[in-house]
Amino acid sequence: MELIKQNMNLDFVGKMKIAFVASVVMIVVSILSIVVHGGLNYGIDFAGGTLVQIKFNAETPTEKIRSAFKPIGLENSIIQQVGPQEFVVRTHESSSDTKGLSGKIDDALTTAMGKGTFEIRRVEVVGPKVGKDLTNKAIWALVFSWIGMLVYIAFRFELRYALGGILALVHDTVITVGALSLLNKEFTLTIVAALLTIVGYSINDTIVIFDRIRENVRKNPRQPLGELINTSINQTLSRTILTSLTVLIVVVILFFLGGEVIHDFAFALIVGVIIGTYSSIFIAAQFVTVWERFRPAKKRKS
């Protein structure tokens, strides 16, 4: 079976301008969405707060939970249904005393609904101090991973390729974060893990194309770079799409089956895989041609 017919030669480099405009639009929308939402919707990992996952024995309406929280002043927390009779409660309050909010929630629910009618399945409390630490660590991890790859690609290929690759990565990260922001999804530790995975995946894709360009440049040094890049993208196209498909299949499965904890992580991966594939084809390699226009490589062996 073949998805991409052999000798297919789509003009990717010619569509560069459209792709660049599309990317710029996506990035602007992402940034606008973040600005309009007043920054990212930080989860408790970064903003600090308390998360409690509760499973009830019987069907329980959200209002009933909310009214049960009134005596402890948590009636304004976010209450989200995540499964049959299962809810996640989030609040940006945290308390460092040993009983903590989870204890209070436990007591309040017991008072309102009776003992044994529910089960507290998960509690996460992050104090503001830790939140700040984690935020810094997350930003550094992302930036260092970019730099790490920049160095490696510059070493294995050329600097302009490295710059193109990193540009694509930043592009992927911004758009994925933008998509999360558009849907008002929470930005948590697992999302950062997803972003780093996307970074790893997208660069993987890009390198495959770079590798082919490098090979073709050696074979036909006189051919214009634009043509070479276009050929290389076409030659690797079926692989790019195939691999993206297999990865997409598994992340979609994770999205539907992985459960509450994995849900948003899988969502970020779905967006990231699609954008990462797109950027490998339309951004990373094509950046090299743009670079070439402004700063032509000094010597190309003839």
Partner: protein, 533 residues
């Protein structure tokens, strides 16, 4: 040629057997006795998010340790000056760890300076001024000593918490220091998280102090607390209703005896009401002190103070020898048991704050494992089917590699005693998607070479050779990302980075090395003329 093929097959079989070998304890629980004695019996370690449990990050309030040290020094100094008849006024701990006092004349000033120099090397004079002919002096603990106190406070807290958790009866707890003043506590399978937190987090400072019956309590409540006294709350529990009430009580601040002098603390059931109480036994020094204190203060009230609140303040009827005492109060059995544990384990040198808590109930953990297994199975099946449809027989070879890959990941997890977390399972699922990438690269190359009219043998050779560099470069860059993920991540995310990295490395072996054996076998030995690819 045959030889190298055999060698390669042998290597593959050995690697797989080793992985299976490490996995055996995970797969079966009834190992033969000889295995249990000599061979690895570690099973794949499940993270707290999968088996349920509690993860706490505690911060030791080291400033408080320095402050309470200063408080102690202030009391010591007061007594030492009274003993050596140095005149002074208003000695008190002021802000943080500084101590201030007033000296009326130069004679007392020089005597005071001598005393500090000879007996209080930890203190240094940081300020002195003359106000209305009186000398005001400010002392502070030397900064080097402060650092020592802080470090010691963290070490002691670590030790104390370890003792408490051990006595609480949790299997395989982990208590790890982190950064300067943080402690991570991991307790798998905790059933009552609230109780566990309370047990770990309470300071449990037990003190015996005399009740001040000479001064007026009313005056003290108004704010005129006599020098050397303190106002605390006494907790009373009504036996009938079980309601707790507090009332103020004036104590002399001097601590006569602390929990450090205890030898043991046990729960006992009272004869009259069948209520649990905690019975204390002092060590020999503590018993002697207790006997002296009770002897000297007959008919006075001795308060038992726990973490700053008075539990009871009985009147001393007679000199008590033998070194036994008890703390009563309407405890439940659990409360009494936990109190006995914390008293045995000792007080924390400083209060601890909970910075981060993550608790997962066992039922959620079970759900997560089930979902994880389903995701792996379905993801695996989908990819396997896809590969066969797309690459026909060669697809089967890639699938073989995929199966081996999963086997190797699990084997490596067991061998390295890594922890499998829910994101770790997600990592395995992702690897399933990404591991076939190597085969896709190779197969697409082989197809290209075949289109150029090469024989299967030549096409395979060229395909593997050309694809290898690409696979190497692309996997290595992904590994770089995984490396930063590992460095940054907390528990569960680290697990994701681990499975992803192991999976990528394993895929270099299974997808490149192992599949080549199969192809070479068919092309070399079976003289295959057409490839099903």
């Amino acid at each position: 040629m045959w030889k190298s093929l055999r060698m390669r097959t042998a290597i593959t079989v050995i690697v797989c057997l080793v992985a299976l070998f490490y996995l055996t304890p995970t797969l079966t629980s009834n190992l033969p006795p000889f295995w249990k004695e000599n061979l690895p019996k570690e099973t794949i370690h499940l993270g707290l998010d999968l088996q349920g449990g509690m993860h706490l990050v505690l911060e030791v309030d080291t400033e408080k340790a320095v402050e309470s040290n200063a408080e102690r020094l202030t009391n010591n100094l007061r007594e030492a000056m009274m003993e050596s008849r140095i005149r002074f006024k208003h000695i008190e701990r002021t802000k943080g760890s500084s101590i201030s006092l007033e000296l009326p004349d130069s004679a007392s000033q020089s005597a005071f300076e001598r005393l500090i120099k000879e007996q209080y090397a930890d203190l240094e004079q940081v300020g002195s001024e003359v106000v209305d002919g009186r000398h005001k002096v400010t002392l502070d603990i030397r900064s080097k000593r402060k650092d020592e106190i802080k470090k010691l406070a963290v070490e002691q807290s670590l030790e104390t918490i370890r003792n408490r958790v051990d006595q609480f009866g949790i299997s395989e707890p982990e208590i790890i220091p982190q950064a300067e003043n943080r402690i991570i506590v991991q307790m798998p399978g905790v059933k009552d998280p609230g109780r566990a937190k309370n047990l770990i987090g309470r300071t449990a400072l037990l003190e015996f102090k005399l009740v001040d019956e000479e001064h007026s309590l009313e005056e003290a409540i108004k704010g005129n607390i006599p020098e050397g006294d303190e106002l605390l709350n006494e907790v009373r529990v009504d036996r009938q209703s079980g309601r707790r009430s507090t009332s103020p009580i004036l104590l002399k601040s001097k601590t006569l005896l602390t929990g450090e002098s205890l030898e043991s603390a046990t729960v006992q059931i009272g004869d009259r009401f069948g209520e649990p109480h905690v019975s204390l036994k002092f060590n020999s020094q503590g018993a002697a002190d207790f006997e002296r204190i009770t002897g000297e203060n007959i008919k006075k009230r001795l308060a038992i103070v726990l973490d700053g609140s008075v539990h009871s303040a009985p009147v001393i009827q007679e000199r008590i020898s033998g070194g036994n005492a008890q703390i009563t109060g309407s405890f439940t059995m659990d409360e009494a048991r936990d109190l006995a544990i914390v008293l045995r384990a000792g007080a924390l040198p400083a209060p601890v704050n909970i910075l981060e808590e993550r608790t997962v109930g066992p039922s959620l953990g079970k759900d997560s494992i089930e979902r994880g297994i389903w995701s792996i199975l379905l993801g695996g099946i989908a990819v396997v089917v896809f590969m066969v449809v797309y690459y026909r027989l060669s697809g089967f070879v890639a699938n073989l590699a995929l199966l081996l890959n999963i086997l190797l990941i699990l084997g490596a997890l067991a061998a390295f005693r890594a922890t499998l977390t829910l994101p770790g399972i997600a990592g395995i699922v992702l690897v399933i998607g990404m591991a076939v990438d190597a085969n896709v690269l190779i197969y697409e190359r082989i197809r290209e070479e075949l289109r150029l009219g090469k024989t299967p043998r030549a096409a395979i050779e060229a395909g593997y050779a050309k694809a290898f560099l690409t696979i190497f470069d692309s996997n290595l860059t992904t590994l770089i990302a995984a490396f930063f993920l590992f460095g940054f991540g907390t528990g569960p995310i680290k697990g994701f980075a681990v499975t992803l990295s192991i999976g990528l490395v394993a895929s270099m072996f299974t997808a490149v090395f192992v599949t080549r054996i199969v192809f070479d076998y068919f092309v070399w030995n079976r003289k295959l003329q057409t490839l099903s690819i």
